[in-house]
Amino acid sequence: MRRARWFAQLALLVLAGASRAGAEDRPSVVIDPGQARSYGVAVQRFADDSASAGARRADAFREQIVRGLEYSSVFRSIDAKAFLGPATTVSLDEAESVVCSDWSSIGADALVEGTLRTDTSQLVVEFRAWDSTRCTKLLRKRYTQPAQADVASLARRIADDIVAAFIGVRGVSATEIAFVSNRSGNQEISVMNADGSNARAATANRSINTFPSWSPSGESILYTSFRYANRPLLFVSTRGHGKPGRVLSRLGDRAGVYRGVFAPTGPKLAVAMSAGEAAEIFSVSLDGKDLKRLTNNRAIDVSPTWSPDASHIAFVSDRSGSPQIYVMNADGGDQRRLTFQGSYNSNPAWSPDGRWIAYETRLEGQFDIWLIDPTGSTNVPLVSHPRSDEGPSWAPNARKLAFSSTRRGRADIYVIDLSGDNLLRLTENAGDNTNPSWGPFPR
């Protein structure tokens, strides 16, 4: 029996050796990435059937797609003046052949073509994305929306789709970032597009508002406000509703609720709330039911952040004598310390892919942003600067982070790739812009 097995193994080895020598008796060439490069993309001006809108709508649409693609750090746009092929889409007819060499020869790895059509009261946008090197169509899609709806955000959505078609990870140019700004003289919540455009106020109550947190649907923002009784209490602002709603009012006004965050999976919150002398972490449903205390000690426990499957919560506690990041089960069980480096670690943010917890750590009196994996085995810096970098928040694709930095003097919101590349400042107005909260993918 044993001998039979021995023979079988020998035969396998001989076979493997023979097949390998037969296929290729040469060494392999090993290629590693080298320096960072991006895909060249040629974006045609979409054919627009609306004579009244004229070229302007199509030009603006193209510009937004280009912006969205370049925001991904995956693509760089090729100037339409360099095109050998048509600058405006001729037709999306499948019979119409694309001359791929026209595009690959100008350095375009990708070609985007499309049409804009106004159909009664609907805007219909259809597009195709090509891999011009391999001359294969990667994506064809159609969007229909009310004619008066925001066209620019649709263009960025298309850009994000194209990013997904090329790298398997959706772009985030069509997402939004909420943040805290005191540019009006009060500390209010504002919202802007992920590239910093179209910043607008979400609150205007002339009080102190902070710690915005998006609902998983992207329809609501939960935040802490001192608008009533000079106590920190939770409120929720919902799109299309002028008046913000008070959250957890059934808990009364006496307890301060310092910060609340939506669970990624449902209408559940983790909140940091006063309990006796200390602040503790609780879980509670949005309507105030099912209140459950998760931490119970004399130390301060604050800044909860959910794991993407809502099975765990990371938070800050000073139970060891200095603020450090801890992780526990969502029911409060199995609490363990995660950070042991540095004397002040705070503001954890769990990445949407579950792989990292970003946090701020104090070094030489200023804060840097580091990443630690949930087991604590890898702990690396992401943003280091002599001035303070604080309040990390993840893009929904887990490939970028937003944070605030005082590197220009006053605090501004920046975004950076997970690789540490492509730092981009989003805010440029007077005042301090802090506490970014990156919203989910648009529905």
């Binding site: 020598a21 040469r26 060439v29 590693d32 391999r134 398997g168 005191n182 602040a279 890898t378 997970l418």
Partner: protein, 249 residues
Amino acid sequence: MGRSNAISLGALEQREFRRLLAVSVLAHVLLALFLGFSPGSEVVMPQGTIAVELVSLPSASPAPAAVPKAARPAPPPPPEPKQVVLPKETAPPKPEPKLEPKPVAPPKPKAEPPAEPATERDYSDVLSELRAEVGDEAPTPAPAQTASIGSPTGSPVSPEFLAWERRARIHIRQNWVVPPSFRNEPLRTSILVELDAGGAILGEPRIVKRSGNPWYDDGVVRSIQKASPLPPPPEAGEWSFVFVADEGY
């Protein structure tokens, strides 16, 4: 319930407003007296502005006091001391313990640490690649390099192969886009490519080992097709390429 709440809260707000108004008027009266103006000339209009300042200044605002054991120590004064006002929730009330020495930072702010320190070899690689690129014959490769390339049969690798391998690697790298999300991931794709004597790719590249990420595999095929023609190989025929996303492979 909600209505009565709203009313009582409204009353609270009104009371607060009156308090602020009183402070404001008092301040103005004092200021006016100080400057020698008659109190009658005081205009009530600027109240709003004053109230705003009260909210935004730490000393005048009642709010920060209500923040839990609040505000982490102010960072040393980047221009605006106002920044301090932000109600930070995470600071404990006790005096901060002294800062520990700066943690030892891993070499670069990458999402993942390099799998193995290969710096020395990398530099020699870069040098020889540069020489190869300018046509300068690279020095005899270090034994480690030979070992890393290897040959399936374990036979020694010819100098012709090494020279071509370097040129091919540089050429392919220039055509290979590795998006940030793939870098440093444990992705590895092996392909076989038929090359003619001039280096042009004949037919379709064949993936013999997939990485598990179809978009990464697509990018590999895209890059080798873009790279055609490659530098002329030592001999025409089928050649094997392995694309690794993690530089510390």
